[in-house]
Symmetry: C2
Subunit: 247 residues, 2 copies
DNA sequence: AAAGTTAGTGTAATTGATACACTTAGTCAA
DNA sequence: TTGACTAAGTGTATCAATTACACTAACTTT
């Protein structure tokens, strides 16, 4: 970074994608976070991301990051914002890491934020074949991240909330069969507020995206709940901009 | 562009902003389009945009483009999406222009799309002091644009529609005093559908963002309409996510 | 003074949102 | 086996918002 104000166009920036990957374990909303490897283990962890490559579109790059991390393709993935402040990487510890890892450490990095949704039970982060150590962290417990990743995470969360207001997102975050309580907890985790049980059920069931199953919970010390599954057709044809949750 | 598939990170891209600048003339939704100058006058026109500069944040770059074009600062401006397909500039005519104008013509260009709202009567595009020729074009009459600018325009329009569903946008697009009919026509132009007059009026007036004036239209060959103005305080405190227009 | 044009207004029916409490079906421990 | 515990599952009444719909009023022009 030059530190000088100039009128010169930026000629050698790097462009990256950073992914806010949400998961749900039945209780808390989680995020995939990358721990630093041995050499840099004192540094703050980061969101998964990478520089985009030649001949690679932005969406492709984000999909690649996700695939390398989780082994999953064709995931729900959506761009939500670009971040390009000149001082994105100005924190001294971050800068040190960048110098060690990047061939052009002084290059400015513009990053495109994506958010993704995956089932935590489908993703076993960090199989030994992958260099990076990814861990699920409940979103409430995420501490200080590298660069401006806390901000990116926050914006990603906002984008997720907004998305939930116009689409039912459960299908990619819940197992095939699930109880209405689980779905409600997912909504509550995303929206960050509690919902009325009866009103929630009425609204969801009326929308027609769920099919009741004949199976019930087993072994619970209370009245067992019925399982439901998504009706794929109804789910996909769900009209944009319905389902607007306030309570 | 190399034409080869590689795993190399993209090291020398350019980053630009492109702005979809909406205006309203009381009847049609318009967009500011840049005509090519003499030397390239056969080329398709484009959206206003520029490479971002060293030490310049993305929002700053977009604001600069807008200011250079219109002389207005502090405009309503919002980022809506990044575009980064490797073949964005592949059209032969576009490529020729890029070769003539840019110092690194083969560089890939990632662009960040912004949309902005201005009053057409505040903007006299292309004062002689500005090199670029900008013209207002009704959005329905925009023809083929350079690069992927038709797509950017389309996405910008979608973003505008979406925004209108959660915020009343009239204040930046209408003159100080305006009739309810003008406001309704603005909404109809943005949403692309007709609205019921009585329901529209009831909804807008109940929201409290308008103040009636004692002035009426003059010289019209029909019952003159009352003028209104926005109540700035109510307008700015308007709660996100109300005002959800379906009809 | 008649024709033409848009402004301005009200209501009834339907749908959606909200607030709220008890019974049921299971497990577990005494 | 019975009582304690827990979450599932259900209905209703009130209020607010949405929709569909048609006539009179005010002004200009001829």
């Amino acid at each position: 970074m030059s530190g000088q104000i100039t009128n010169k166009p930026l000629v050698n920036p790097h462009v990256s994608v950073d992914c806010v990957i949400f998961g749900f374990d039945g209780k808390d909303l989680q995020v995939l976070i990358i721990a630093r490897d041995e050499k840099f283990k004192d540094l703050a962890p980061s969101l998964p991301g990478d520089l985009i490559r030649e001949d690679e579109d932005l969406d492709e790059a984000a999909n690649r990051v996700l695939f390398e991390l989780t082994g999953i393709k064709d995931i729900f993935l959506e761009q939500f914002r670009a971040f390009g402040a000149p001082d994105r990487i100005s924190n001294p510890a971050d800068a040190e890491w960048v110098r060690a890892v990047r061939s052009e450490p002084d290059a400015r990095v513009i990053t495109i934020g994506y958010f993704a949704l995956v089932r935590t039970d489908y993703v076993h982060p960090s199989p030994s074949s992958f260099a990076k150590k990814a861990v699920w962290v409940p979103i409430k417990e995420v501490g200080t991240l590298a660069f401006d990743h806390n901000r990116i995470l926050q914006e990603g969360r906002k984008a997720l909330r907004k998305k939930l207001q116009s689409r039912p997102l459960g299908m990619v975050l819940l197992p095939k069969k699930f109880t209405l309580r689980a779905l409600q907890e997912l909504y509550e985790a995303i929206l960050g507020k509690t919902l009325d049980k009866r009103n929630f059920r009425r609204k969801i069931l009326k929308s027609g995206i769920l099919e009741p199953l004949e199976i019930k919970e087993k072994g619970v010390p209370y009245k067992p709940a019925r399982y439901y599954q998504f009706n794929k057709v109804a789910y996909e044809n769900f009209p944009e901009n319905e389902f607007y949750f306030v309570n």
